[in-house]
């Protein structure tokens, strides 16, 4: 995983596999505290204490025919490499929240990557899931919900390719307004 948006995609896919109908994504950059926090919260089937522990084990997977499950273990590695960590809150039925913190300026912190394109790719593959985003950046807050970003009427009249590109355009504009810009990761100095 070369950037954070790919970890985000991986965790959203975990939520989808856990039969989530809603996923809340929060991305928050705090220059003063020097933190970058990403959280993914879903209303999927959740995990008990044992499953929670096993989810961090690279040799554990729920998928048949696979030897390893690398989604969360890669996230943990990326977070710890930059002086951060991963916290999982989960319970059967109520869903799962994964919170990842990074030290924003740490030299080994991965770049954010193309968050809007990642969210749109997920929306395209999972149109039935209500995806909400709240981004807190250097210039303010931007929040939206997939079903509001492009309304039902627009989806019907535009067709899939067109509504997805409209969604991406609106996401980019909203995020840019709150000060989001793709970055190169942590920096020296």
């Amino acid at each position: 995983m070369v950037d954070i948006s790919l970890h985000l995609l991986d965790l959203m896919q975990n939520s989808a596999r856990a039969q989530a109908t809603r996923i809340d994504v929060r991305v928050s950059e705090d220059k003063e505290k020097d933190t970058l926090t990403i959280s993914i919260e879903d209303d999927g089937k959740g995990m008990d204490e044992d499953e929670k522990r096993l989810a961090l084990d690279p040799f554990y997977t729920t998928r048949k025919g696979k030897k390893v499950g690398l989604g969360l273990p890669f996230v943990v590695q990326a977070a710890r490499m930059s002086g951060g960590d991963v916290k999982i809150e989960s319970a059967p039925v109520s869903g799962t929240k994964v919170e990842i913190t990074f030290s924003l300026s740490h030299i080994d912190r991965q770049p954010l990557g193309d968050i809007p394109a990642t969210l749109v790719a997920f929306m395209a593959g999972n149109p039935e899931i209500e995806l909400s985003l709240r981004y807190t950046g250097p210039a303010g807050v931007f929040s939206t919900v997939s079903h509001r970003l492009v309304c039902e009427e627009e989806r019907e009249t535009l067709g899939q390719i067109a509504w997805l590109s409209l969604a991406e355009k609106r996401l980019r504009a909203g995020l840019a307004g709150a000060g989001f810009r793709p970055d190169g990761g942590g920096v020296i100095g």
Binding site: M1, V2, P58, F59, K67, V68, P73, Q77, R80
Partner: protein
């Protein structure tokens, strides 16, 4: 060249190896630290040279069926060594830099058969 020959020729420290693993033939080499990149490019039977030490390295090595992993310079956490032992992954270590190890490895193995 076998894994145990490689250990001698490159003066590597063995953190984990099995009997079958020592006798395994090394087909080529690969250097990489970004695990997704390694997953896309390393080949079965390669000797994989890296500075990553997280236990995820063992999972990637197992998944891609590499002949051995050579970790350079950075100290290996005990958990990573234990994992390699329990999964039967050959985990080797060198105090030399990845550059030095890769240079020596290339000297021994040369280019992979269908590499340009």
């Amino acid at each position: 060249m076998r894994v145990d020959d490689l250990v001698k020729r490159l003066d590597l420290k063995v953190k984990s190896i099995s009997k079958a693993g020592s006798a395994r033939e090394v087909g080529g080499g690969f250097v990489g630290d970004v695990l997704s990149h390694v997953m896309a490019n390393v080949r079965p039977n390669d000797a994989w040279v890296t500075v990553q030490t997280h236990e995820n390295v063992v999972a990637v090595a197992l998944l891609l069926d590499v002949a051995c992993v050579v970790v350079c310079q950075r100290e290996l956490p005990p958990e990573t060594c234990r994992r390699a032992q329990s999964e039967g992954v050959a985990l080797l270590w060198s105090e030399r830099s990845a550059f030095e190890v890769a240079g020596r490895l290339y000297g021994l193995l040369g280019s992979r058969p269908n590499e340009r």
